[in-house]
Point group: C2
Chain length 174, copies 2
């Protein structure tokens, strides 16, 4: 556990927009200063990415895997930040370890990435910019990660969005 983020921990906010449309299988996550810290790392990844999307997988308060969109440099349209982070995590960890991990993404996971998150059993997702916001800048599949979780009988995922979203969206104006 990273000492600094532990010490700055504590309840920051509950994303109000999310609690309004909370459903049975996805729950609105409580956000902490630690979440802001890790989201900033995801956004820093986005700054170096082919398209401005970054992701971080955290477990026990430590960064376990980083991902940045690499779809151009790898000539792989599936190399979204979340997929890159998941593949990096799997190269050094057993899938079971996903169960206590949090995935931070600078952009709301698309259905491909959210499907991967669900199949991997990741229980907590925090994102910055929403698919609705991203769609104003770049083509999106119009299905939210919450809709994905709610359509999955076996999924039990805490989801929170909107954390540092202005910072994440700003990267599209550069």
């Amino acid at each position: 556990m990273d000492r600094r983020t532990l010490l700055t921990g504590g309840t920051l906010l509950v994303a109000a927009a999310l609690s309004r449309d909370a459903h049975a299988r996805s729950k609105a996550a409580v956000l902490t200063h630690e979440d802001s810290h890790f989201m900033q790392i995801a956004i820093d990844q986005a700054k170096k990415a082919d398209y401005p999307f970054g992701a971080v997988i955290v477990r026990d308060g430590q960064v376990k895997a980083l991902g940045q969109n690499s779809s151009k440099r790898n000539a792989d349209p599936t190399a979204h930040a979340e997929m890159v982070a998941i593949r990096a995590f799997l190269s050094g960890h057993e899938p079971d370890e996903f169960k206590t991990a949090t995935l931070y993404a600078s952009g709301e996971p698309c259905p491909m990435c959210m499907g991967a998150i669900i199949w991997c059993g990741i229980r907590r997702v925090v994102y910055a910019a929403s698919i609705a916001e991203l769609a104003k800048k770049i083509g999106q599949i119009d299905i939210t990660c919450r809709q994905m979780a709610d359509a999955t009988p076996f999924a039990d995922i805490d989801i929170a969005g909107g954390l540092l979203s202005a910072n994440a969206m700003q990267l599209f104006d550069k």
Copy 2:
């Protein structure tokens, strides 16, 4: 183009169930004997897979990539047949070549796989067993590949389901 499949080509059927719920962005594909031939290859892949799912990517009448669910042997919950086939295709082809490819899957692509199909620009998908059928045997995310295509403003994908579905479903009873 494979000569045998060309010679046996010709309209076989239009999946009636699909034409009933056809939407703007996904179109019901016309199926041929060639489609049955390649679907059988996908089903043969499923027979050797960790979970009974197989996929084949075909271009110019030739098999370009094979995939079988490898989630156990690779300790990778994202190693669905379609993802494995897509990764295999990308290892030897440029993403642009997806545009004239057909993906055959023994099971309807889940949102993760369909998301990958959309981002890769694959224009034609043929599957055997539907998500509704598969859900009776194994946990599924309850969003069809047609719903995915219809939620994607930039996608233009021919989709047909139900081809040899009984054969694909039989694999779950072994």
